[in-house]
């Protein structure tokens, strides 16, 4: 078997998937990039194909969009950190502390929310956090002061953290699973306290898992608009909401395209960083 034929085999296999990706996905992104430099007539909704930097000028000079971008990135980062913290105990228990039957059971439970409508689960939080909702009912019954998180950025933070937690759990579980038990035993034998073992052995080895999970939690939160729409309040606009309303409401694809370029840049940068931490090194 010659090297040339082997290469040809690879190319033949890779042509369909990467052809598809290039045409439908990279092609789409390219057209999106182009339209960011166009404009739309506000009355007729027709695209004006004249090159202009107006969209970007508005984005840079109007502080509204800076505030929205900062809010979006800030909450996405907060959600990612919260998910990492929340995922650890459960991931560790599932990966290390239970037998195979129990593990299967717990994995099914963790995956269960992913299989049921995301929208309905967001809506559930409206039922929970609402003024007359489930949470306040419990707080009242317990004689505690009521909360009013509904339609605030706190609600956004809670709901995002909830929604994307399984995406952090899954890679973290498999990362912890992959740590050889012999390594932990060795650490224990050498007199390391459990905390030291965690800090020096388990945590560093789980970093690729956390990095992989964070790509999902960060990127998915960054581009959301459904959750801010359903549980956010006044002052909860995300980049996604501006993009969505420019496409779905005011019909201004060029401006939406320009703003979404910011998403592209931020996420592109994040993925490059995550790659350094081994996020894409495989399952």
């Amino acid at each position: 078997m010659t090297g040339g034929r082997k290469l040809l085999g690879h190319v033949a296999l890779l042509l369909p998937p990467f052809g598809w990706l290039t045409v439908f996905y990279l092609g789409s992104l390219f057209i999106l990039l182009l339209s960011a430099f166009w404009q739309v007539d506000s009355m007729s909704g027709e695209m004006i194909h004249e090159w202009t930097l107006d969209n970007f000028r508005v984005l840079v000079t109007d502080e509204t969009y800076r505030i929205i971008a900062e809010r979006t990135i800030g909450i996405a980062a907060l959600v990612t950190v919260t998910d990492i913290i929340l995922a650890w105990p459960l991931a560790y228990v599932i990966a290390r502390k239970v037998g195979p039957r129990m593990k299967l059971f717990l994995l099914v439970l963790v995956a269960l929310p992913l299989w049921s409508s995301m929208l309905a689960r967001i809506y559930a939080w409206r039922l929970i956090l609402g003024h007359d909702g489930v949470l306040n009912w419990f707080l009242r019954s317990a004689g505690l002061p009521e909360q009013s998180f509904a339609f605030t950025n706190v609600a956004l933070w809670i709901v995002f953290t909830y929604l994307w937690l399984p995406f952090m759990l899954m890679p973290l579980i498999s990362a912890i699973e992959r740590i050889p038990a012999s390594l932990l035993d060795a650490a224990g034998d050498m007199g390391a306290t459990p905390f030291q073992t965690f800090r020096t052995v388990i945590f560093p080895l789980a970093i690729p898992g956390m990095a992989a999970g964070s790509v999902f939690t960060f990127a998915v939160t960054l581009g959301e608009y459904v959750t801010p729409m359903l549980v956010g309040g006044a002052g909860s606009e995300f980049i996604g909401n501006v993009v969505y309303s420019n496409v779905g409401v005011s019909g201004n694809i060029p401006f939406a395209a320009a703003f979404s370029m910011i998403l592209l840049v931020v996420i592109g940068a994040y993925m490059l960083v995550a790659r350094r931490f081994g996020a894409f090194d495989g399952a």
Binding site: P17, F18, I31, Y92, I122, L165, S260, M271
Partner: protein
Amino acid sequence: MNGSMRNLALWGAASAVLAFLLLPLLIVLVFAFDASSVQIWPIHSFSLKWFAATWADEEVRGALLVSLEVAGLATLLASVLGTLAAVGMNGLSSRAVQVGAFFLTLPIALPGVLTGIAMNSFFTALEIPFTMVTLVIAHTTFCTVIIYSNVMARLRRLPPSLTEAAQDMGATPLRSFTSITLPLLGGAIVSGMLLAFALSFDEVIVSTFTAGSETTLPLWIFGAIRLGQHMPEVNVVVFVVVAVTLLPIILGQKLAASVSRER
């Protein structure tokens, strides 16, 4: 802190996180049996009447059908593309694999709203009308990576000598693929397909921008939630979806578990 205390704290934290993960879903499931048409806690009377009402709703059945078709077709296409990508990239330098994986991951790692408007402007520019075809194309694009990563993970655990041996014995690459590699990858492909199906079945953001006048089940749910008019039916739909998909998840996890045991 001694060992048992530490264990207790760990289990306590894990249970609390698990509860956080499951309680909201539980609430939706319980509300499916609420007799009232407005959801107010605590529930006053229970009834099965909304199950019958939902089944009788033609819009729900139509949307379910569209969702099944789109998810089914997208999963099939993605399984072919994803498997080809994994097999084709297997054996390339790790740098090439990283770059390839990076591009395959883009459609799912980039936010749905970006993928959505990009594809929206792509189809608009090419004057392709929004139909089931555009939906399937969009869904296939982000499902491919799921199959790819499942198959790739399995391939890495296969000794490369296996296919080489077959080829040394005179088998063509295609033959060694169909008779040796593919059967070994079956489990990984199927569990990837289950995941991809689930992803497509629940997708709402990209669908919003590529569906045109088609209504998938999530789009129907989104409409119902925004209008607040069929909430009892939404609860029932979610209940049924969870009940029906429990089997494939267990199956998927079992397959994944058996794959990881074989490594």
